[in-house]
């Protein structure tokens, strides 16, 4: 086997190493510039600097990276350690299955966009303009989403229709664009480049409408639609240009049919259809947190307490004329009991509602109670304007909203004066936050354990790494204003376009492979897969190559070791541990996303740790088998450290929780065998927590 070694222009100089007999060492001055040829199915060992730097240079190579720079040279460990590391890597590679290259045909050059808000409309316009047949589905009867419900758009104060209608018209003028309202997805099957999606279109109840409005006059049902009242048959001036029946509210009294026979059908049936798409774009937009759960603010319990959207609509409709208004910020946001994160746009929405009412009724007294004001970017100007318009900003998080002698009031502390304060008002507006659309994502088999998709992308699980052909656009990615939403929609369109422009895509991710001879179809692996990639097909366990992300969790769950991870199969790992672990060593098996990076940080920051700490890089702590740990201990290792991501930061959703459960069982077993359970430690070590890593291994060495 070839071992490619780099001396980094003579700065990484080790004495001649004693390596195994079958090893052919090739030395380079700068491996990263020379980039030697490596055959697609060749297995090599690369002994140089960090795999984080080199992996990108040798994409899809079957290489085991030995970080002699940061694990030996920079921290002043003896060259023998490098010898052991390289020999262990060679032993591992000999028993390691190469990673197969997978090709996915892009059989359908069409796209499905879910959600007809501005994001979905913009994506549909962009894709269809570029020749992609695109279907846009919207679950309500009208396009436009949240923007269609608003009065005007800040920072400029543009009427909503001036932003929305040009977008809709651009999309409608494209011959490749189709939009279906009252439509949702029910079933999704297939894979990137070749999805089959089942749609259900619910009845609209109205056809060939001439917009005369007689039906509205006779409809006896009046309901509140987010702050504005309307009839059960109604119209929103966006698209399509016809009325619709809200069947959830309609009593089927038939009055409308009497004034408009032939065009209204109260018994229209829902229709099921199927479409093919190579890419799916999720643009399901803003989803409110249920603010009635913040009980102390009284939404749904106290009259006069409303949400921003309801307030905006009621003020715009002229049905609300308060003299005093309090706007409470972070209602349920940045709160460990509700939404622990900041939804980013609610501060802007609060400022907007303040301006909206003051512009309309200058005598209104507006109090904004905010624990912090996050008027990022140029929204700061809006904040400035509002102070000049006389809005009182109170710093502090109100403790409650209550009614006393018929009056609505907010209790808070004013942090500027340090005094308690009660504000008597006519209306309280709660600026509450937004939640991710877990339902749609789970239909698409995307596990949102890390809140919004934008964070999911950060976690390294982006669509580029995950060849799923599913993209997110607009507020579904993360809540944002109109400008941010449109920018995000364009980015999503371009990602989808560059996928659909290809004939086939090629990927080389380490994936799980099942050995049918060993597998007894016990199905234990099915439930442990965070991606739902495992299923039973014709009485055999099948791994879906489009879904498997290569965490290796199933390979440890499998009692027969039938499921194995390419590049990290157990046999290879065991060989590596057998070679590497010496008497008295600390073997550190570390997650490539977090703890492993901390060891590199330690070297860069010149934090020393003992030379008997031997590091093994794994995709996830969930892929560490108890037998690996036992093997290290059998070999005489003093301790085994398993280092992974913090509980909610696992790149594979829940591998670290699996590791934790296994560690605890293993400890009990060790103790029942009369060994010290604390020889094995599982620790959460963040990417940059070099200090923590060093402290732990030093402690284990005592």
């Amino acid at each position: 086997m070839r071992v490619l070694m780099c001396n980094c222009h003579n700065s990484l100089k080790l004495p001649k190493l004693k390596l195994g007999p079958d090893v052919k060492v090739e030395e380079f001055d700068d491996l990263c510039k020379t980039k030697p040829e490596i055959a697609p199915d060749e297995k090599v060992v690369i002994a140089a600097c960090s795999p984080n730097l080199l992996e990108g240079l040798f994409p899809g190579t079957n290489a085991e990276f030995v970080n002699i720079l940061e694990h030996v040279f920079l921290i002043g460990h003896r060259p023998e350690k490098a010898e052991q590391m390289i020999n262990a890597a060679v032993a591992k590679m000999e028993k390691t299955r190469p990673v197969k290259t997978k090709f996915f045909q892009i059989s359908s050059r069409k796209a499905l966009v879910i959600g007809g808000g501005i994001a979905g409309i913009e994506v549909t316009a962009q894709l269809s303009k570029n020749g992609i047949e695109t279907t846009l589905i919207e679950k309500t009867p009208f396009l436009g989403g949240t923007v269609a419900k608003l009065d005007r758009l800040y920072p400029e104060g543009t009427p909503y229709s001036h932003t929305l209608m040009p977008l809709i018209n651009t999309m409608q003028s494209q011959k490749n664009a189709v939009s279906l309202c009252n439509t949702e997805i029910t079933k999704v099957s297939g894979r990137v480049g070749d999805y089959k999606i089942e749609l259900v279109t619910r009845p609209r109840g109205v056809q060939e409408c001439i917009n005369c409005g007689k039906c509205i006059d006779v409809c006896p049902v009046e309901i509140d639609d987010a702050g504005k009242s309307r009839k059960a048959i109604y119209y929103v001036p966006t698209y399509p240009d016809m009325y619709a029946i809200d069947f959830a509210a309609c009593t089927r009294c038939g009055e409308c049919v009497k004034v408009c026979p032939g065009r209204i059908d109260l018994n229209e049936q829902e229709k099921v259809s199927e479409i093919a798409a190579g890419a799916v774009i999720v643009a399901t937009g803003l989803l409110w947190y249920d603010v009635s759960r913040v009980e102390e603010y009284g939404y749904g319990r106290l009259d006069g307490v409303m949400k921003t959207l309801e307030f905006e609509r009621a003020v715009a409709a002229g049905t609300l004329r308060p003299k005093k208004v309090a706007i409470i910020y972070c209602a349920g946001s940045r709160d460990s009991k509700h939404l622990p994160y900041c939804s980013k746009i609610c501060c802007l929405l609060g400022l907007k509602e303040a301006k909206l009412i003051i512009d309309r009724y200058p005598d209104v007294q507006v109090y904004v109670a905010a624990m912090d004001m996050r008027s990022y970017g140029t929204f700061e100007y809006l904040y400035n304007t509002l102070r000049e318009k006389g809005v009182s900003f109170i710093k502090g998080k109100p403790s409650e909203v209550f009614r006393w002698n018929g009056k609505l009031a907010v209790r808070t502390e004013d942090l500027f004066t340090n005094e308690l304060m009660e504000i008597e008002v006519d209306n309280v507006v709660l600026s509450s936050g937004f939640v991710p659309d877990v339902e749609t994502f789970s239909k698409l088999k995307i596990n949102l354990t890390v809140d919004f998709p934008v964070l999911y992308e950060n976690a390294g699980l982006s669509n580029t790494e995950l060849p799923r052909g599913i993209f997110t656009a607009g507020a579904a990615t993360f809540p944002g204003g109109v400008a941010e939403t449109l920018i995000d929609a364009r980015k999503a369109s371009h990602s989808a376009l560059s996928l659909l422009a290809q004939k086939e895509i090629e990927t080389k991710i380490n994936q799980a492979v099942v050995d049918e001879d060993l597998c007894s179809v016990c199905r234990m692996c099915i439930g442990t897969c965070p991606y739902g990639a495992i299923s039973v097909v014709e009485d055999k366990i099948k791994i879906n190559e489009e879904l498997c992300m290569g965490c290796g969790i199933c390979s440890v769950t499998c009692p027969a070791y039938a499921s194995q991870l390419e590049g990290w199969n157990h046999e290879g790992l065991r060989e590596q541990i057998r070679e590497l672990a010496q008497q008295g060593d600390i073997v550190a098996i570390l997650c490539r996303w977090s703890a492993y990076n901390a060891t590199e940080r330690a070297a860069q920051d010149k934090l020393g740790y003992p030379g008997n700490v031997k590091i093994i890089r794994v995709p996830c702590t969930g892929a560490v088998d108890p037998s690996h740990i036992m093997l290290a201990l059998n070999n005489g290792a003093k301790g085994v450290l398993i280092g992974g991501c913090y509980p909610h930061a696992c790149h594979y959703a829940r591998g670290n929780f699996r590791a934790k459960a296994r560690e605890q069982i293993l400890k009990l077993n060790l103790e029942s065998l009369g060994m010290a359970g604390n020889q094995v430690r599982l620790e959460w070590i963040g990417k940059d927590e070099a200090h923590k890593f060093v402290e732990i291994v030093q402690e284990m060495n005592k």
């Binding site: 972070c330 502090g396 998080k397 502390e413």
Partner: protein, 163 residues
């Protein structure tokens, strides 16, 4: 004026180590605790947010000698509301415990302890009470409960207060 030269940077870490003090560093100063506090409603000098703030700034002497530290009524309204999930009432307790460890204990508490040591009760049982009980058909009770003194000794509080 706050003079940070007087600040003891270790103070907050010592409180964090105490039972109940774990959440201290999570505080982002929203003042929901202060706005929820019924004691503060009647006495503006008491302010849990301010105690937490001074603790975070390391102003140990100010915190430990402050009479307001002892005003908390343990109603836990703050604990229920805190958006950061800090058990605020427990945190105040941790600071109180620390204060006692350091020899700061209000006279009133010491007097109560004396009563407990002597009688095993906070309220003295007088002949008048016993007569009243008899009239109501209730059994007589002991004027002192010596076991309480043993419990107090066992808890170590006597050593802390050098009794």
């Amino acid at each position: 004026m706050i003079d940070l030269k007087e600040s003891d940077p270790q103070f907050k870490w010592e409180i964090v180590k105490k039972e109940g003090g774990e959440g201290l560093l999570k505080c982002f100063g929203c003042s929901d605790c202060a706005a929820s506090c019924p004691v503060r409603y009647f006495n503006e000098n008491y302010n849990p947010r301010k105690i937490i703030r001074l603790t975070l700034l390391g102003l140990k002497d100010r915190v430990l000698t402050s009479p307001f530290l002892w005003f908390c009524a343990h109603c836990h309204a703050c604990t229920e509301r805190c958006p950061q999930g800090i058990r605020v009432a427990e945190l105040i307790n941790a600071i109180k415990n620390y204060a006692v460890d350091q020899g700061y204990c209000p006279e009133g508490y010491k007097m109560q302890l004396d009563l407990l040591l002597k009688m095993g009760r906070l309220y003295e049982v007088e002949d008048f009470d016993l007569k009243k009980r008899q009239r109501l058909g209730l059994p007589a009770i002991d004027k002192t409960i010596p076991d309480v003194a043993r419990i107090l000794e066992y808890t170590g509080i006597l050593k802390v207060l050098q009794k």
